[in-house]
């Protein structure tokens, strides 16, 4: 889901920490180091990495494409291979029949079945292309704010892990407590009261 889509979802983050100067270069290097790699023709099932906003299928970054006004704009790409259950079942059955015919037996042990399943999975994973999912990111470095254009739990978790690995900065998800405690400008006594809050009854 992207910045230019007609309907978007946004998860907000607060970014804590500083990058070494010059910041533009640190961001660019981080993105290049952790850009998406292709897993087509590989046995890996899932890979995530940074991608350029304008051309997410070509893992190349240039400062002009990443730096926008006072912000950074790039994407998280998650490539995943999903083998349809029915395809898996078919190839498992064929492989099992072949193994039974070769061995001359009419049964296979639990271990043999597990080995066949793994073998079939690896073979199929090598053959199918990964499906890319692209989620845009707008990062206001000076303001310590980041918008991630997805509310999907798995995509948000992937973002948090990769961002921390890439930039060594802390991403704090904005939800009611963090917005109140970190962003609403509450005084220390107000924060103490916040910590002790209990649900209000609007009835009775």
């Amino acid at each position: 889901m992207g910045v230019l889509s007609s309907s978007v979802s946004i998860t907000q983050y607060k970014v804590e920490g500083q990058l070494p100067a010059p910041v533009n270069e640190a961001v660019l290097k981080g993105l290049q180091r952790n850009s998406i790699t292709d897993i087509d023709n590989e046995s890996e099932e899932l890979v995530s990495g940074w991608a350029a906003f304008e051309n997410p299928y070509k893992p190349e970054f240039e400062l002009a494409g990443v730096s926008l006004d006072t912000r950074f704009l790039f994407s998280l790409r998650i490539d995943k291979k999903s083998i349809p259950a029915k395809t898996m079942k078919k190839h498992y059955f064929l492989e099992m029949s072949k193994r039974l015919a070769e061995s001359g037996r009419d049964f296979l042990s639990k271990n043999e079945k597990r080995e066949i399943r793994e073998h079939v999975k690896t073979t199929l994973t090598l053959r199918i292309p990964a499906t890319p999912n692209i989620y845009d990111i707008v990062w206001d470095y000076e303001g310590g704010k980041l918008w991630f254009f997805s509310n999907l739990k798995s995509a948000n978790e992937e973002l948090e892990t990769l961002f921390s690995k890439t930039f060594k900065l802390t991403l704090i998800r904005v939800f009611p407590y963090t917005m109140a405690n970190l962003l609403a400008g509450l005084t220390e006594p107000e924060k103490d009261r916040l910590a002790k809050l209990a649900p209000t009854a609007f009835t009775g």
Binding site: V3, L4, S6, S7, V8, S9, I10, T11, Q12, F53, E54, L68, D69, R71, L73, V138, W147, N151, I172, R173, V174, F175, P176, Y177, T178, M179, A180, N181, L183, A184, G185, L186, E190, R193, L194, L197, P199, T200, A201, F202, T203, G204
Partner: protein, 173 residues
């Protein structure tokens, strides 16, 4: 405090925020421009989820959907002790209209539609369109943030019981 602990423990703040916001939209709309300078109106849109909860358990949930749906059932649910957990809002500034859903427990925004931007016809148009879109998203995000600030300042103050009384009067009116 651990993030997931604080997320779960204080989810109710988000539900109370949306319930308070519904009250504000219906009863004190003159306070809304304090959260967005050029605001003309904020109205409840075509979707609202109201839940009666006990800890993590949802005891009763109603979803009101549709452009002409009345909110009377929602008020009835509030009388039974429910709170608003998701709300669709329509924000108007001059001729510009935004609509979006806001989730109480996460403050996540979804199905956000902004006023239209100039169509992207070539690669050269992308940068301008993105800058315009970011500006339009900012109008919603800053508005929610300012509304939340108004709410939470009241919520942690001594005046909260007074606000609760006003909300109760509205619910039972």
């Amino acid at each position: 405090m651990d993030v997931s602990v604080s997320y779960n423990r204080y989810k109710f703040i988000g539900y109370e925020f949306l319930t308070w916001l519904w009250f504000l939209v219906e009863n004190e709309p003159e306070r809304l421009p304090a959260a967005a300078k050029n605001l003309d109106s904020l109205t409840i849109g075509n979707r609202m989820v109201i839940e009666k909860r006990r800890n993590e358990e949802v005891l009763e949930a109603i979803t009101i959907k549709g452009d002409d749906a009345g909110l009377e059932e929602g008020l009835l649910a509030l009388k039974k002790g429910a709170v608003v957990t998701e709300i669709n809002l329509v924000q108007t500034m001059g001729e510009y209209v935004w609509s979006f859903n806001l989730k109480g427990e996460s403050l996540n925004i979804y199905s956000l539609k902004t006023p239209p931007v100039a169509p992207v016809e070539s690669g050269d148009d992308i940068e301008g369109a993105v800058i315009e879109k970011i500006y339009l998203y900012e109008q919603v995000i800053d508005f929610i943030y300012n509304l939340f600030k108004l709410f939470i300042k009241d919520r942690v103050s001594d005046s909260w019981p007074k606000t609760v009384n006003h909300i109760k009067k509205w619910i039972y009116s």
